[in-house]
């Protein structure tokens, strides 16, 4: 057990009980009508390598004490990372002062009382115990593997542990602790590269050597890339590529986005928007998912069916948005005050039973995409996204990988893409770089628009 404020080599600075005591102190100090406090204590470490050597290696311990005060129907937030009494008094006073100096908010609801939460097990001692030497040894193996093959490795090996509590003056108390680990690797050759990444709360699920081997094989398979004309192709998107594209949809399912008329689902709810093989849930309790079982106000999160066989069926709502839209809150509210309302942060796509190999075998001519990069929204209503392929893009001919190809830019409507899904793989926990982790399958998609080609 750690003593108060003690700094472990690689573990929690505060226990949950200690965070609860700080929360109690803050609430006792507050003179506001209502007071809410969220405390997060984080320990993160990341070993970074490139050119087959470790070039950056960092660790940080941070604390955030965030206080929301309600005064005369107005609310505001102040945050500090200092735990002495004077700083706690100051942060409480700052939240109340900010709250007072604004117009009354007619939509503001009273804070919640005590709630019951479903348990989620997302803290693993093995992850919390990971240390710099463990990470360095794994990275050294990967670098030596790359050197042996005359390749160059770059990537990260990261781990962290987090404790958070949410409490308010109405008696609500919620807590969540979790760990996370991530290994990501790019293997480079002179004119090609390959990439692989994996993330999990349990570091024992992560296998750096296998990931590096996979990235290495992609770099070998994409040597001497051909130049292919841009155009519409059948695309086989590995889960990471699917994640970073469909991840752009999450805010569209927010009730507030509908009210603000900035969702691509405005005027489209209940209509056949995607293919019948597309079903989408938000489910924080899914075994592959991450996150706390409560939202920014402490309301329990619910599992919500967002898309049923291609038809957008439901949105998610904070308490305030639900009242405005005459719906029931779903436990997806963001911490108040905010202008975005709510968001589904735990998307789970239904999958299929086809492997990527099945998809390749069934394709006469198409493109296999390992990873996409720099995704940006070109048209918010048609949901046209642009981006690049990266680190392993291949031409498929007659059911086989024929060659590596130079990377493409794409301009593709996500709505059209999800209407053209020809095959689905099993849904897996996918890790990308443009979106938070979700549960998505590999997809074979018809008529994918690759608009331009780059020089490598």
């Amino acid at each position: 057990m750690l003593s108060s404020g003690a700094l472990a080599e690689n573990g929690a600075r505060f226990t949950l009980a200690e965070l609860q005591r700080i929360a109690g102190r803050v609430i006792a100090l507050s003179q506001a009508d209502e007071t809410e406090i969220e405390i997060d204590s984080t320990t993160d470490a990341l070993t970074r390598f490139a050119n087959n050597t470790i070039h950056q290696n960092v660790a940080d311990h941070t604390l955030s004490i965030s206080v929301r005060a309600v005064v005369d129907g107005r609310t505001a937030r102040a945050t500090t990372n200092k735990t002495d009494d004077e700083s706690l008094r100051r942060v409480v006073a700052a939240a109340a002062t900010l709250a007072r100096h604004q117009p009354e908010n007619p939509d503001l609801l009273p804070m919640l009382g005590p709630q019951k939460y479903q348990k989620v097990a997302r803290y693993f001692d093995a992850t919390a115990a990971e240390n710099p030497m463990d990470r360095a040894r794994a990275v050294t193996r990967v670098c030596k593997m790359a050197e042996k093959k005359k390749q160059t490795a770059a990537g990260i090996f990261a781990s962290g542990s987090h404790q958070s509590v949410l409490a308010n003056s109405k008696g609500l108390f919620a807590s969540h602790q979790y760990t996370d680990a991530e290994f990501s690797v790019t293997i480079l050759e002179e004119k090609s590269s390959g990439w692989a990444k994996s993330g999990s709360p349990d570091i024992r699920d992560i296998h750096p050597d296998e990931l590096a081997e996979s990235a290495s094989n992609k770099a070998i398979a994409s040597r001497n890339p051909r130049v292919l004309e841009p155009g519409h192709y059948t695309a086989i998107l590995e889960p990471s590529a699917v994640l970073d594209i469909v991840g752009s949809l999450f805010l569209d399912f927010s009730g507030t986005s509908i009210l603000d008329k900035r969702s691509c689902l405005n005027d489209r709810m209940g209509k056949q928007l995607f293919g019948e093989n597309v079903t989408l849930w938000d489910d924080v309790y899914h075994p592959y998912q991450l996150g706390s079982p409560y939202d920014g106000e402490g309301l329990p999160r619910q599992k919500i069916l967002l898309v049923d066989r291609g038809v957008p069926k439901n949105l998610v709502y904070s308490r305030t948005t639900a009242k405005k839209m005459k719906a029931k809150p779903t436990g997806h509210g963001l911490p108040l005050p905010n202008e975005y309302g709510e968001a589904p942060m735990n998307l789970v796509f239904s999958g299929g039973d086809k492997s990527v190999e099945d998809m390749i075998r069934s394709t006469e001519r198409g493109i296999l995409v390992t990873r996409v990069w720099y995704i940006r929204e070109v048209d918010p209503y048609e949901k046209i996204l642009t981006g690049m392929t990266r680190d392993g893009t291949f031409l498929i001919e007659n059911g086989r990988i024929a060659a590596g190809i130079r990377n493409f830019r794409f301009n593709q409507s996500v709505i059209e893409m999800l209407s053209n899904v020809e095959m689905l793989g099993p849904a897996v926990r996918a890790a990308g770089e443009e979106s938070f982790e979700m549960v998505v399958p590999a997809m074979k998609v018809g008529n994918f628009h690759f608009s331009e080609v780059t020089k490598f």
């Binding site: 008329k261 209503y381 608009s451």
Partner: protein
Amino acid sequence: MMLDWAALGIETAKLRGASYADARVMDTRQREIATKNGEVGNLLESESLGIGIRVIASGAWGFASTDRLTREGVQACAAQAINIAKASALAKRENVALAPEETYVDTWQNPFVKDPFRIPVERQIDLLLRADKEILAVKGVTLAEGSMSFRKIDQLFVSSTGSVIHQIKMQSGAGIAATSFGDSEIQKRSYPNSFGGQHALQGYELIESLDLVGNAPRIAEEAVALHSAAQCPEGTSTIILGGSQLGLQIHESIGHPIELDRVLGQEANFAGMSFLTLEKLRKLKYGSDIVNVVADARLEHGPGLGTFAYDDEGVPAQCTPIITNGLFTGYLSNRETAATIGETRSNGTMRTENWNRLPIIRMTNISINPGTWKYDDLIADTDDAILMETNRSWSIDDRRYQFQFSTEIGWEIKGGKKGRMIKNPSYSGITTEFWNSCDAICSREYWTLWGTPNCGKGQPMQTMGTGHGASPTRFRNIKVGVAFAK
């Protein structure tokens, strides 16, 4: 106290075997305000204080940070940095070497007129709500948004070689936006720039200079008018880019590829590498003869988000010629990468987001020098073109060759006159081909040092503010309209 903590961190690191150590104590204060459709959205004040200690031990790097600013906490942090460095040494190929640098004892604060934290928050909210009201008064507008943010950074840098540098930076920023949903499309106009407006190393005087309320009706009317505007054609065209859009073009297609850590492969796994391999220095024709670009962190360049007196490894602010009469002439370096490529000195671009992040090479103010054209003369001299203003989307490959940008609004230029409005403008190209097609740059009176507050790089990710001076500029034979091509 800041000096005591930093000195203790350095001393502990040295005692535990560091051959070099530096420490950054940073005390930051922020205020964020957002309004939407006549109501206050986000309203937040935050503060954060902590120390980051970077060491070289056993010839390798280690970094640790903590907000536990006690004797025990700082010593533990320094010890952890040493342990991490020793772990790094397991995968070491050679000892870290740094380009030499003088030691400095100095204090600096950027000039500003009005401390934004002393301006009553109700006055700041009122300004945004007045702009909101003006936007919502225009029929067809479905969403009005406004935001302000202020950040004060009080930081002390101490190194084992004797530097003690205290800097205080005050940043301010604000912007408004009008969105219109109709005819199955969403159109948006922002002022003075998209994605949060204009940001600079200034006080509240920046906000007062923007005239948010005065510009609100115009952007609202433009957002609605875009629904009935002509679609940007697909093909090849002359384009004229407004200053803020050119600023982002510089950021993506010059600022990032000149980062020496990218060039040397250190960012290969995430941000990517660069087409500007070392043999191209002082040989590559990056742009046309009129293109001159500098990386200038000095205050005399202006109050940009990349302005400081010293970078975060204690190197003084400098002005580095990046493109000189079209020729590629310089990278952004730090002490380590400068030594790697045989330069005698870093050009001072190491920057960190906060005390808990390792400094990495970042853009400072990457600006194109003004040209000679009056804006009206440039339009009059253009027979057939599309004028594009205010960024809507941006994307570029991981070696910074191929890019695609779209803007919120465009106008046809026909026969030397600004004509009808164009919606959904976009253009794309290859970096060096694009800059070599530049044939006219507007003069100093149209030049603005734009602030980009949201540049992401590094693992763990760090968000940094950068500056980009630019004026309206013309390019020939550019591919347009690809983003919306079927």
